[in-house]
């Protein structure tokens, strides 16, 4: 197709009453066609699904972390309960003072302990 014919096609494709589909086909026959390089689809699929793999690995890591946290939390709670029971058995109550080991101390003896007099 001559240059002038291609120019006319380009101009006429923009007429409101033209048949754009037909003109597009003619332009394609004249060599105005577009495509991506070889292996484009494979690269797209690899990008999408390798990203998916990363997301899956992250999810797996988060799941593992929460199961570890769950076990640690249970042992922690058990330790706290044991501590409270032992404090109750030793001090006879579970007040803050007995928790801090100050159950049978008066305010004056604490001042004496702190000041050394």
């Amino acid at each position: 197709m001559k240059c002038s014919e291609v120019k006319n096609l380009i101009i006429s494709s923009l007429d409101a009453n033209s048949d754009p589909d037909g003109i597009t086909r003619q332009l394609e026959e004249a060599g105005v066609s577009y495509d991506f390089s070889e292996g484009f689809s494979t690269r797209v699929i690899e990008k999408i699904f390798s990203a998916g793999l990363v997301v899956n690995r992250e999810l797996e890591f988060v799941r593992n972390m929460s199961s570890v946290f769950y076990r640690i939390a249970i042992s922690g709670v058990a330790a706290i309960v044991l501590l409270l029971i032992s404090i109750y058995l030793m001090e006879g109550s579970i007040s803050i003072n007995s928790f801090l080991g100050l159950g049978d101390m008066s305010d004056e003896s604490i001042v004496c302990l702190l000041t050394g007099n």
Binding site: M1, I23, G31, S41
Partner: protein, 184 residues
């Protein structure tokens, strides 16, 4: 990617949502040329266009759950392609305006010169040159009309513009192209 060759687009979408690589590969194969026409028509035939093309399909994959099947899949993909390409044009425009004192026209001249390695003036080269010299908002409607073969109504729907705006842009683009083509 043989097993989905005859599948309709709804079947392909459903299978892709289930993580079927073959189904999504078939979607990419079916629409890659359409996306290439839009992206390369608007951005020029460059490596950037290839990257944007990949982004179009990646975005499509991640937004497939939002596709309700009310419009054609091609229209849905076309909208993604146009939006991503316009974003890239804006990004490049900002980049050039930050690092050079060139005006808009000169920026597009730069793009044309970048691809103008050969003296051969074939039809595709002429179309590319003419498109790159057009203002991006005109280039978009021209690409939809001339390279994709859409009607003015379809162009308006894809670009989310009123029909009157599309018609006026086409008419102004035609005037600009006449002047551009005289010099080519």
């Amino acid at each position: 990617m043989g097993s989905y060759r005859k599948a309709d687009e709804n079947e392909l979408v459903r299978a892709s949502l289930d993580g079927d690589k073959l189904a999504f590969g078939e979607i990419v194969n079916r629409y890659r040329k359409m996306v290439a026409r839009t992206v390369k028509g608007m951005l020029g035939d460059s490596v950037f266009a290839e990257d944007i093309g990949q982004e179009v399909f990646i975005k499509l994959f991640h937004s497939l759950s939002e596709f309700r099947g009310e419009a054609k899949l091609a229209t849905y993909i076309q909208k993604i392609a146009v939006n991503l390409t316009l974003n890239e044009i804006k990004r490049r425009k900002r980049f050039f305006s930050m690092f050079s004192q060139k005006g808009d026209d000169e920026i597009y001249e730069y793009d044309v010169a970048d691809h103008d390695h050969e003296e051969k003036r074939d039809a595709k080269e002429m179309v590319n040159k003419a498109l790159m010299k057009l203002d991006p908002k005109f280039r978009t409607v021209v690409t939809m009309r001339m390279l994709q073969g859409y009607s003015t109504k379809e162009t308006a729907e894809i670009l989310g513009l009123p029909l009157g705006t599309v018609l006026s842009r086409l008419s102004r683009a035609q005037e600009q192209l006449k002047e551009i083509l005289k010099k080519l």
